[in-house]
């Protein structure tokens, strides 16, 4: 087993354990902390893939900004332990069935995919940050500008939604 494969399995196990912990935890704050574990493990996998810029953005934006927002809202609303009713226990059955069906479908697709895709080894030599910057500001400059507009609309929407109505 090469060192890369060993690192991959450690990080993959960490990510899956975090995702399972997200489901099993009863308190939202514990679920949020589990999700942070998943995101950090995924950032490590991006580094292993040689995508160092995406790994940094993953830590800063997901692990930093978005999860802080989640934790902030959980504390603001004083969210307690979630209550499970008979309906939610019933939802577990179809949910599990759906997940198994989805997993089988994806497994079948991977099995039928061409050998070249299956056997393609991750080399991790692609120089990414320079290439990404030139792609964003040359090929994808209009979508990039549109995302700034999207962020603006989201900020306005969040402000309007969360403000208290004057009575």
């Amino acid at each position: 087993m090469t060192p890369q494969l060993a690192v991959f399995f450690v990080l993959a196990a960490l990510a899956v354990a975090g995702a399972i912990s997200l489901i099993l935890q009863k308190h939202p704050i514990h679920s949020a902390l589990s999700l942070i574990v998943v995101m950090v493990a995924l950032a490590g996998l991006y580094l292993l893939l040689g995508a160092e810029f995406v790994a940094a953005v993953q830590i800063i934006v997901y692990g930093g900004a978005i999860m802080v927002l989640f934790v902030f809202v959980i504390m603001l609303l004083n969210a307690g332990v979630e209550e499970h009713t008979s309906i939610s226990k019933m939802a577990g059955g179809p949910g599990l069935l759906l997940v198994v069906a989805l997993g089988g479908f994806i497994a079948a697709t991977i099995a039928r995919s061409s050998e070249s895709v299956q056997a393609a080894e991750q080399t991790g030599t692609l120089s990414s940050t320079r290439g990404i910057s030139s792609m964003i500001f040359k090929d994808f400059v209009y979508p990039f500008e549109l995302t700034s507009f999207l962020i603006l609309v989201a900020i306005l929407g969040a402000t309007v939604l969360a403000q208290r109505e004057k009575s």
Partner: protein
């Protein structure tokens, strides 16, 4: 070196766990977190294919997905605050105005 297959399988597992959490959990904040988990799983597949094909398009798409996820989190959490204020509960089964 790690085959691309392994990354795709891990991505599928994480996506499946996200779908299960989305259906099974009853707290609206946790449901929102499971959506983020699914987005992360898709990002992993994007980066893995980007490296396998030797093209950077996938990584650029991941950046756009992260931007959209950030915008979605801002608006979604605003909606959650509104629901919590109107219903005094974070349980999705209490949000049943459109139910028969």
């Amino acid at each position: 070196m790690v085959p691309t297959n392994y990354y795709i399988i891990l991505s599928a597992i994480l996506f499946g766990l996200g779908v299960f959490a989305f259906i099974f959990k009853r707290n609206i904040i946790t449901i929102f977190m499971s959506i983020e988990l699914m987005l992360n799983a898709v990002n992993l597949a994007f980066v893995a294919f980007s490296q396998a094909l030797g093209k950077l398009d996938g990584q650029v798409f991941v950046l756009f997905v992260i931007v959209v996820a950030a915008a979605e989190a801002a608006v979604g959490l605003g909606i959650i605050i509104l629901i919590a204020r109107n219903r005094q509960s974070l349980n999705v089964e209490r949000v049943d105005l459109l139910k028969l």
